[in-house]
Symmetry: C2
Subunit: 226 residues, 2 copies
């Protein structure tokens, strides 16, 4: 039974990879760069997007918003006058815990690909399954809040290992936490040595310019991986 | 394809329910009460267990620890001289994001059921799928940290709706956050009107006695649902 289950899972991941390639081909044809943003629930993905999306140095951006239910985050981002498309995962299975390539594929006709340079996909808040499903992105950003503890890279290694940038958020709270930043960074380098990281606070704005600059680079065609 | 997928998911949930009932029968036979503890990553499940497990008014307790990888939490709890059994979900599927009834069933032979009154199952940190899979528990406790924002009950309603107790953790940080506790409780009551809740801080110990008392009651045979 267990082997069968693994086989089904592998087939599902293979199918996902095929569809992710098709998404990527569509995005490339439209010359749109795609960033897949992931984190645990409440780490601050939406707040960090609110900080930067209104000004990306001229790059035109849209957001694809993934949630189990509702459109709370989409509503927040739409108020920045950024086009936002919502995917709700709950028809799938009492709520899928991640976006997969096929969900993103279904949304492509609703995306203004010919009017944007960058698509940010805000994934469902979850540190496990979103890391397993490529959706056609050029780069992955994950947000880890310092309130979540130093051990998270060790407990959720795939997530930390498969991203190009780690935003270490809520650093304004460091004086009030028993959080050892050096130990967190040590654990991060253990699972993903040297990965880009920015220390940020969506609340105070600290470090946000570095995040904005990273996203501007990601929006430029030159940022394409070889 | 979508209907087939839903059908497969429903069959999987039906199979899970059957196994959960078998687990429950085994626990009942051994007169062991079972609490399934769930939260987002880093909300404080382990820290809240560390606060109370060493003294539950005479009730004997063991922990079944669910993680994608590693045994960091199990090691922390074992230092309290509480028996801890580890389940790692990563052989399943690049890391299953939840415990299911069958994983718990596999662990039953390793549990000291004849020596305990209460089994605490610490689930994988995730606000989506753990809520969908009963594992044979008598009650569910979820931990929501105030650092995660007021909107979480609305975004992850199944999790908040299917638990018997909500531990609102990290309240020591309230003075440093833009978190509206009344709005959080309003959202909580919207998805699960009147559910038991304790405001706690694993860090300072505030509210921990109320949590301890709840767990002591959960360990008593009288707490069994009719």
């Amino acid at each position: 039974v267990h082997k069968t289950k693994i086989k089904i899972a592998e087939d599902a991941l293979d199918a996902n990879t095929t569809i992710a390639h098709a998404n990527r081909a569509d995005f490339d044809r439209a010359q749109v760069r795609v960033v897949n943003m992931m984190s645990a629930p409440g780490a601050g993905k939406t707040s960090l997007l609110e900080r930067v999306l209104a000004d990306l140095g001229g790059a035109r951006v849209a957001v694809l918003e993934g949630d189990v239910q509702g459109s709370l985050d989409a509503d927040r981002l739409a108020s920045l006058h950024v086009p936002v498309t919502q995917i709700n995962t709950d028809p799938g299975f009492g709520g899928e815990c991640h976006l997969d390539a096929n969900m993103v594929r279904s949304a492509i006709p609703a995306l203004p690909l010919d009017k944007i340079d960058l698509l940010v996909i805000e994934n469902v808040g979850n540190l496990v399954c979103p890391a397993e499903f490529r959706v056609g992105e050029d780069a992955r950003v994950m947000v880890a809040a310092v309130t979540e503890g130093e051990d998270k890279p060790l407990k959720y290694p795939l997530m930390f290992r498969t991203c190009e940038l780690v935003l270490v958020n809520k650093i304004d709270l460091l004086p009030h936490l028993d959080f050892d930043l050096d130990r967190f960074l040590y654990n991060l380098d253990k699972v993903h040595p040297g990965v880009d990281r920015c220390l940020v606070s969506a609340r105070t704005g600290e470090g946000v310019e570095e995040w904005r600059a990273w996203l501007e680079r990601a929006a430029a065609p030159a940022a394409a991986p070889a």
